[in-house]
């Protein structure tokens, strides 16, 4: 009997996953490490130390960029107490990056709210995950999965050395306790990042451009987490035109859920028969 190739099937091993979580940026960040079965207390200490590095990185970015913190640099910019010219290099770099994304997405992604206030929150979480991933690699960790409120970046494998992919489930927007689909991340030649945006998240915080879309939820898999995150947001905002732009211009896989629950997907999300 031929084995059906199921990219979401994981080989049975004694590998243990260890997870640490912390709260930041209004959500919960999960850091998951894959260890060999022999891993002992030393590894547990290493995990705690590595997670502390990730947490510090998230907190520092949040302190600079959060509009929920009155004393943050972003809040001072929003109030006009500070100009971009005198802003920190970090702030200006992210502002430039966000503006580049606005151009690349033909305005579907914007770093400014309709009232003109600079809001880089659409970029900062992805940026934080990206930087956290770099830190983990710099610490010599190869097999891990970072998840910040549903945006994911992986490295290596949940079964170190096996080449097996990390399996990500994608929640059904109509019932967040069930999965609508799955996607294999990492592995050989696979996308390393997956991000999902919803029209209802944080009280409709994605601003729709005219025409808009009726996408209730959009998931994008890409090589890097900032691309995945921004394109997911841009497609919710920019609708079908942005979806087609994304699949033409970037190496991405997309699963979009219409408000009526029907699906649109690129071939990579199609079940192999």
């Amino acid at each position: 009997m031929p084995r059906t190739s199921d990219p979401l099937r994981l080989p049975e091993t004694g590998t243990k996953l260890s997870a640490r979580t912390f709260e930041c940026m209004g959500t919960v960040v999960s850091v998951t490490f894959a260890d060999s079965p022999a891993a002992g207390q030393e590894t547990q200490d290493e995990l705690a130390a590595a997670t502390a590095v990730v947490e510090r990185l998230f907190r520092e970015l949040d302190e600079t960029f959060s509009l929920y913190r009155p004393a943050s640099e972003a809040s001072r910019l929003a109030r006009g107490e500070l100009t971009l010219r005198s802003a920190s290099p970090e702030m200006r770099a992210r502002y430039a990056e966000a503006h580049e994304w606005r151009l690349l997405t033909a305005g579907a992604f914007s770093p400014e709210r309709p009232d003109g206030v600079l809001d880089l929150s659409g970029l900062i979480k992805g940026h934080a995950i990206r930087e956290a991933g770099r830190s983990l690699l710099a610490l010599g960790r190869r097999d891990w999965c970072l998840n910040a409120g549903g945006d994911i970046l992986v490295s290596g494998s949940p079964v170190p050395g096996s080449g097996a992919a990390w399996k990500a489930g994608i929640v059904d927007p109509a019932d967040r306790h069930s999965l609508i689909s799955g996607y294999a991340l990492g592995g050989v030649g696979g996308h390393a990042a997956l991000a999902t945006s919803g029209s209802a998240e944080r009280g409709e915080h994605i601003w729709r451009v005219d025409g808009g879309s009726d996408f209730a939820q959009v998931t994008v898999a890409a090589a890097d987490v900032v691309t995945a995150d921004i394109l997911a947001t841009a497609i919710v905002s920019g609708g079908m035109a942005m979806l087609n732009l994304a699949t033409e211009q970037w190496d991405v896989a997309v699963l979009a859920v219409h408000a009526d629950g029907s699906l649109l997907a690129t071939p990579a999300f199609r079940r192999q028969i």
Partner: protein, 190 residues
């Protein structure tokens, strides 16, 4: 005071916008260049690789003759080397001044299946590039387009929450996390 700050911010944004626009334009140019060099790579692979289909048929003829002259080689290895030798001769012929004709590159595995490129050379210039094979493992022709298409729920990759290591969804708040699937997975791995 605030008005002045806003004005300064607007001027600064315009500056950065312009810088971003230039960066974007340059990136676009670079990607065009990259695809151009890709074509060149495919072309050079083609000329040094399998050679023309015409050379292929003449190659089988030359493999016969080299087989007869190759007294020291084993028949298996001389067969293998002679076939590459035939393409080598067509390659050397084309290396002087690119001979007009069509050349096929090696089949390359991509996310969309095996892809092979054929180039047409005339007057020392590549005049046409054609994708020859575009098949998946089952040798069915597949769509190279990555466009999203309507799918039934039963047609997308399925996943059970017990089988996944992580969960993607629209950003959950800290409160919503407590009752989320991700929280259950994290708890199981603590």
């Amino acid at each position: 005071m605030k008005a002045r700050g806003t004005l300064a911010a607007a001027v600064a944004s315009a500056g950065i916008l312009l810088a971003g626009w230039q960066a974007g334009t340059q990136a676009g140019g670079a990607s065009t260049l990259a695809s151009g060099s890709n074509t060149t790579t495919a072309g050079s692979t083609g000329s040094s690789g399998t050679g023309t289909s015409g050379a292929g048929s003449s190659g089988s003829g030359s493999s016969g003759s080299s087989g007869s002259s190759g007294s020291s080689g084993s028949s298996g290895s001389s067969g293998g080397s002679s076939s590459s030798g035939s393409s080598g001769s067509s390659g050397s012929a084309s290396s002087g001044t690119a001979t007009a004709g069509t050349y096929q590159g090696a089949a390359v595995q991509t996310r969309f299946g095996a892809v092979q490129v054929q180039i047409t050379v005339a007057s020392g210039k590549i005049t046409d590039v054609t994708a020859l094979h575009l098949t998946d493992d089952d040798r069915k022709s597949i769509q190279i387009s990555n466009r999203a298409a309507p799918l039934l729920r039963t047609e997308v990759l399925a996943a059970q929450s017990a089988d996944v290591q992580t969960i993607s969804g629209a950003t959950v708040t800290s409160n919503a996390y407590l009752t989320s699937l991700q929280a259950a997975i994290d708890a199981a791995n603590l």
